[in-house]
């Protein structure tokens, strides 16, 4: 404990035991307890108590004081628990006849009160880890609340038993019988979680696993059976009798049916990627059932029985089930399956994306599932092109995507753009994809969305267009679109300069950084001009995340000009320094020319910490780089740093020093050396509120509360 805090402690303890003194809120007490926990981790509790008798005083006093607030009482008891977690301290407290026997000391009537029972938790927790029979465990088994929860934890019917729980790995046959019985007599709500838990276990009798899997499959089997025209493909659970309870639940009401199906689909989704999932895994039937569920929801299924008809009515338009089914369908893409299954899945996804009734949340899930199916679809080996199914699918997909890009809900437009970005990121190089995309109006529509009224959509459009442009897909290659191909940079630059929202501007900076990194034509044509323009726009931005991204772009440029940052891996073979692209003076002149120093020095004194931090890292990197050119450092003894030093206060004030590119490289270098960048870095590493968060500040606050806190202190909300 630092001396400042030690000095404040007695006064604070006095405030705490005085019921007339207003105590700060529970949050402060919680934080105080946190602090004591850290202190006791670092030093012996006994020593702490010996050095600060006011603490023992507090602990023995609180139980005697009438009218003490429940918050303080709870705090003190938990504090006692924290100290008593060290056995010698427990004994120390026992000798001093303080809360060593809290059950006796604490009035029985207080037990139902929450703060007192909460103390037990903190009291018991340290004790549970002590060896059995340790004196610390004696006398503390009285509390009712934590004991009960301890039993619950160990109960074999807990919904999610740990995979290798000792309870379950035991070879005790009667236990498995109990579980099997539970599985057959529990209601449908609890059956699913238990079945899933069983299937996740490593050591478990096969018969029980089979039973559990049947329980999980039952609802989907019912759905399949109710809709499949005889003779149809094999069902999920052919040969086993229908479970009457499942059918009853499915038909009872819309909400119970939706609930059961959602749970089932979610459980199967959780099971699918696990190594211990049942084998053989009925991939085809599950896919069939999921497709059927989706068809029942959108009303396109043809029921084969009265149960099916009933299901049709119940599930029609049920968004909840649709979402769960789409999630599971997406997961099913990870399994291998025959071609017709892929066709089936893609067909139902397309239907879903096309359906005018699909809600925005359903469309988002449909896009996600489609992406998963497309990216996992089998490719012809040795051929860079997509499989035979995909080109046809894409030709059908893009008109639907076009429609979705014009949807009245921003959520849908945004999801469609995100889908487009992802797809072109992965498939931008595939001829089939390029062909289908450029034949559609999707790129033009995405371009129009740069002007969307919703800022989220504008940002997604920026990202999508940046991605398309990187792959030469943002406009058709025909000559009449030449202008469109060229104007994108200007358009994005315009967004960066004038958009009122941060998201689109941030997205633009990310795109520009990517472009610079990947040597995009617009960036590579005249890199210096590109960087200068972008940095100038970014430096004026009010959103610090845009400025931080500007530094990221500057770092990429630095790397390209001076060579990549050195790796600090101790095991890496020390490679000879990569020869820089150009001589240092020339490189520095380029950095000055693009206004990088101006931007970085300004950012160093930015009021937003992450910007300053990033700039500090950038300048340190630069300084290290230059240090390797020892010749230059020694060549000039004392360069004229006056001009740069004169601008320093103006940078501090957050102003642009002078027109970019006007500094002398030598002057900048000299200043770089004169700044205590390491010191600055460690100052910046601390969070902005580290002073406010310090224990000393907390103690001061709590002491100061004494004189305040009347009336409307909750005004901040």
């Amino acid at each position: 404990m630092d001396p400042e805090c030690a000095q404040l402690l007695p006064a604070l303890c006095a405030v705490l035991v005085d019921p007339r003194q207003p105590v700060a809120d529970d949050t402060c007490l919680e934080k105080l307890l946190d602090w004591f926990k850290t202190v006791t981790e670092g030093e012996s509790s006994v020593v702490l108590l010996q050095e600060h008798p006011c603490l023992v005083e507090l602990l023995s006093h609180v139980l005697k004081v009438q009218d003490l607030s429940s918050g303080v009482l709870s705090f003190s008891l938990r504090l006692a628990g924290t100290f008593a977690a060290q056995e010698n301290c427990f004994q120390y407290l026992q000798v001093r006849s303080t809360p060593s026997s809290p059950c006796r000391e604490t009035p029985a009537c207080l037990w139902p009160r929450r703060p007192v029972s909460s103390w037990c938790t903190s009291w018991l927790c340290p004790c549970e880890v002590e060896p059995r029979g340790s004196p610390a465990c004696r006398g503390v088994t009285g509390p009712r609340v934590p004991r009960r929860s301890w039993i619950t934890l160990k109960s074999p019917c807990a919904p999610r038993p740990p995979p290798s729980s000792p309870v379950f790995s035991s070879s005790d046959g009667s236990l498995w019988e109990t579980v099997a019985r539970a599985l057959s007599c529990l209601g449908p709500t609890h059956m699913g979680p238990l079945a899933l838990g069983i299937l996740k276990l490593e050591h478990c009798p096969q018969a029980l696993r089979t039973q559990a899997f049947q329980v999980l499959l039952q609802p989907l089997a019912c759905v399949l059976k109710a809709t499949v025209q005889a003779p149809g493909p094999p069902g999920l659970l052919d040969g086993t009798a229908d479970d009457a309870t499942t059918v009853d639940t499915l038909l009872a009401s819309k909400s119970s049916c939706a609930g059961l199906l959602c749970r089932t689909l979610a459980h199967l989704e959780e099971l699918q990627p696990l190594p211990q999932r049942p084998s053989p895994w009925p991939q085809a039937s599950l896919l069939g059932a999921t497709v059927t569920v989706l068809r029942l929801c959108d009303g396109s299924a043809a029921p084969a029985s009265s149960v099916g008809g009933h299901l049709c009515g119940t599930l029609a338009g049920c968004v909840r089930v649709q979402r769960a089914a789409l999630d599971f369908l997406g997961t099913l893409s990870q399994g291998t399956g025959p071609q017709e299954l892929v066709t089936q899945a893609l067909a139902v996804l397309l239907e879903c994306l096309e359906s005018p009734g699909s809600s925005p949340t359903v469309l988002k899930k449909a896009f996600q599932a489609t992406l998963r199916w497309l990216l996992s679809s089998p490719k012809t080996p040795g051929c860079s092109d997509l499989g035979p199914l995909i080109p046809q699918f894409l030709r059908e997909l893009f008109p639907v995507l076009q429609k979705r890009l014009c949807h009245p809900c921003w959520e849908v437009r945004d999801s469609a753009l995100e889908f487009l970005t992802q797809l072109s990121r992965h498939w931008g190089g595939q001829a089939d994809f390029r062909c289908a995309l450029l034949a559609s109006e999707v790129p033009q529509l995405a371009l129009q969305l740069l002007q969307d009224p919703e800022s989220y959509v504008r940002a997604s459009a920026v990202t999508a267009m940046g991605q398309l442009s990187s792959q030469g897909l943002h406009a058709p290659t025909s000559p009449e679109h030449a202008e469109a191909r060229q104007s994108l940079f200007l358009e994005l630059l315009h967004i960066l300069s004038v958009d009122s929202e941060g998201f689109p501007r941030r997205a633009v900076m990310q795109v520009f950084t990517e472009w610079l990194r990947d040597g995009h034509a617009d960036a590579a044509q005249d890199t210096e001009q590109f960087v200068a323009t972008v940095l100038q726009a970014a430096s004026r931005d009010l959103d610090w995340e845009v400025r931080a991204q500007g530094l990221e772009l500057a770092l990429v440029f630095l790397g390209q000009t001076l060579g990549p940052p050195r790796t600090h891996c101790p095991y890496a073979v020390a490679l000879p320094e990569v020869a820089p692209a150009q001589p240092l003076t020339e490189a520095l002149r380029a950095l000055c020319h693009v206004g990088l120093f101006d931007f970085a020095f300004c950012a160093l004194f930015d009021c937003d910490r992450p910007v300053a931090q990033k700039s500090c890292d950038l300048l340190l990197f630069l300084r290290d780089k230059i240090a390797s050119y020892s010749s230059l450092r020694e060549a000039r003894g004392s360069p004229n740093t006056a001009s740069a030093e004169a601008t320093l206060p103006r940078w501090r004030a957050g102003e642009q020093a002078q027109p970019p590119g006007d500094q002398e490289p030598e002057a900048v270098l000299a200043m770089l050396r004169s700044l205590d960048l390491e010191g600055l870095r460690s100052t910046l590493a601390e969070s902005s509120d580290h002073v406010e968060k310090s224990p000393q500040s907390l103690l001061q606050d709590m002491l100061a509360t004494g004189g305040f806190l009347q009336g409307d202190e909750a005004d901040c909300y």
Binding site: S255, R263, R323, L542, G654, D701, A714, D715
Partner: protein, 591 residues
């Protein structure tokens, strides 16, 4: 037994981090998903393990409802939906939907980037979370599913704040969120119809306060600001971007106009301009005065208030600056505070440290800042006071009340007041504590026209509000309940009528023959029961209405006669009366 269960995960006997779980007729709803400003670790969020232990969140919860955009009501939402994994619908009003992501984004920037916190939600998560939102209009009944419906009511407090009624069948709960029962300069007062919910869950921030006149506080504020700028001082007003800031802007704007003042007023950039934009956009949510004058002059287009540039802080001379955040813990307001705190001419309304009287503050890098400026604390918060809360309870007429979003001591006071004055049960659970309320769901019963007509035919006109006894047979058929006449019930159910008779033996000392005994009984009853129809039948038996009496002589004792009395259950009263009468014996016959 049907019941409503309520468990606060936050705001149970505390202010901040509102999050209340309600189970009603098998549906689970989460009301608000707020965060606690005081913590930097996971304790800032409600303890969701309480729900996740029941299995998957999306399966357990039917919906989440957000009452308004303040972070203590919605700050944990992206964490809950994108990190804990809730995938179901989230309901809020249109203004809340528009403003909520801005505040969340702002909060993220402060938490993640300024404080360097990891494991926090990202911009993408905020967006994904907002995609799950379903926006609702005031007084629009929204069907969450076939059984659960919700409805929003105007709550005042801040733009877009709403109270929500949650209803399943005939059971309902109303959650107020934060509300204000008196209109202010830019918003109206909360209002709800007499919906008589089973339970009203109300905030109780000002449970013990009866607020003084708002006009006084406003006058005081204007006076102090005016004095400071007259002296040439600068005024810093740390505010939260939305809500009170607009209130104070309107106040200052009007004052500046009236006094013809030229001192510049600035608004910290970014967030607040956006806020004003939303106030303009959602003008129907503001109060009547603003809506009325909107055509001639938009109250949110300020003449005297300009956007602030950080260079302005160094300008000489007086000025007034509204800066965010209101707690002065970071950002622009803190920067300006640092610049101005050293001058006693200046004035500011600031964070808790300065409020609690500390005049020397340690800032970053161990430098100590001495606060010489004047510090004033003024409350313009828009919560209902004790009177307002009582008024709302009176308006909605709930069966029970449950208090949240307040301090235990103040709640205790209000609880007693509600129970004594309104005779309504009142609860105040702590966080994690469950209150269970039994409900008696009303079951609709149809009544047959025939039965009603028969009742009417008896000549008694039905009187409103006066209960009346009506006999009929309740039949349950095809999960319907109907009250019909017994004849119709028999017919519908295909049953035959059975008659139930009670019999009893009464021993009489009489040596005469049976016929004579019967005759004596007849004349005795005839004389006692003057209003009843007493008959002596040819077979010797006597009847009184449906009651039948027969005399018989037991063989063993000729001095005693046994009187057999039998009656139908309809004449139970008469039958009992007769037996007790006869047990007293017959009057002596004149010999």
């Amino acid at each position: 037994m049907p019941e409503i269960r309520v468990t606060p995960l936050g705001a149970g006997q505390d202010v901040g981090r509102s999050c209340i779980l309600v189970s009603i007729a098998g549906k689970n709803v989460m009301l608000d998903c707020g965060m606690h400003m005081g913590f930097n670790d996971d304790r800032r969020f409600p303890d969701f393990s309480y729900i996740t232990q029941n299995g998957r969140l999306t399966d357990f919860l039917d919906c989440v409802i957000i009452s308004h955009f303040h972070l203590d009501h919605c700050g944990a939402l992206p964490y809950f939906s994108e990190m804990v994994g809730y995938d179901g619908p989230i309901y809020m009003t249109h203004p809340t939907q528009a403003i909520c992501p801005i505040l969340l984004e702002d909060y993220r920037k402060i938490a993640v980037d300024k404080k360097g916190e990891a494991n926090f939600f990202t911009s993408q998560m905020i967006k994904d979370c907002m995609k799950k939102v379903v926006a609702v209009h005031l007084h629009q009944t929204v069907q969450v599913d076939d059984e659960l419906e919700i409805k929003a009511y105007y709550a005042g407090h801040v733009l877009g704040a709403a109270m929500f009624q949650i209803k399943v069948g005939s059971e309902s709960v109303v959650y107020t969120g934060d509300y204000n029962m008196t209109p202010d300069r830019h918003l109206g007062a909360a209002w709800i119809d007499k919906c008589r919910p089973n339970l009203l869950i109300t905030e109780s921030t000002y449970a013990t306060t009866i607020r003084d006149s708002k006009r006084c506080r406003e006058r005081d504020f204007l006076k102090k600001v005016h004095e400071t700028v007259e002296r040439g001082g600068k005024v810093l007003i740390p505010v939260f971007a939305l809500g009170r800031a607009q209130e104070l802007c309107i106040l200052l704007e009007t004052f500046w106009e009236r006094m013809n003042l030229k001192v510049p007023i600035y608004f910290s950039t970014g967030l607040t301009e956006k806020a004003n934009h939303y106030y303009k956009l959602f003008i129907p949510w503001t109060n009547q005065k603003i809506r009325k004058t909107f055509v001639q002059r938009n109250m949110f287009e300020f003449k005297h208030i300009k956007a602030f540039d950080r260079a302005f802080a160094d300008n000489p001379g007086p000025m007034v600056v509204f800066a965010t955040p209101g707690m002065l813990h970071a950002g622009q307001s803190l920067q300006i505070f640092r610049k101005w705190a050293g001058n006693e001419k200046n004035m500011g309304t600031v964070g808790h440290k300065i409020l609690s009287g500390q005049r020397k503050l340690e800032m970053e890098g161990r430098q100590v800042l001495e606060v010489k400026m004047q510090v004033e604390y003024m409350s313009f918060s828009a919560h209902a006071d004790a009177k307002g809360i009582m008024q709302l309870v009176g308006q909605a007429e709930p069966e029970s009340v449950l208090l949240v979003h307040g301090e235990a001591k103040k709640m205790e006071f209000l609880k007693q007041k509600i129970e004594q004055e309104l005779r309504v049960n009142c609860y105040m659970p702590a966080n994690g504590e469950t209150v269970t309320l039994p409900t008696s769901p009303s079951i609709p019963v149809g009544i047959s026209l025939g039965l009603l007509k028969r009742e009417m035919a008896q000549g008694l006109l039905p009187e409103a509000k006066k209960p009346r006894l009506l006999h009929g047979t309740l039949i349950m058929k095809d999960s319907n309940f109907r009250l019909v006449s017994s004849e119709q019930a028999l017919k519908e159910l295909g049953l035959a009528e059975h008659q139930l008779r009670f019999t009893c033996r009464v021993h009489l000392h009489d040596t005469r023959k049976e016929q004579e005994t019967a005759l004596r009984v007849y004349s005795h009853l005839k004389s006692v029961l003057k209003d009843h129809c007493v008959q002596h039948l040819p077979d010797g038996s006597v009847t009184v209405e449906s009651v039948l009496l027969q005399a018989a002589a037991p063989s063993e004792d000729p001095g005693t006669k046994v009187l057999l009395v039998s009656w139908t259950y309809q004449d139970e009263e008469l039958g009992s009366f007769l037996t007790s009468l006869l047990k007293k014996g017959l009057p002596q016959a004149p010999s």
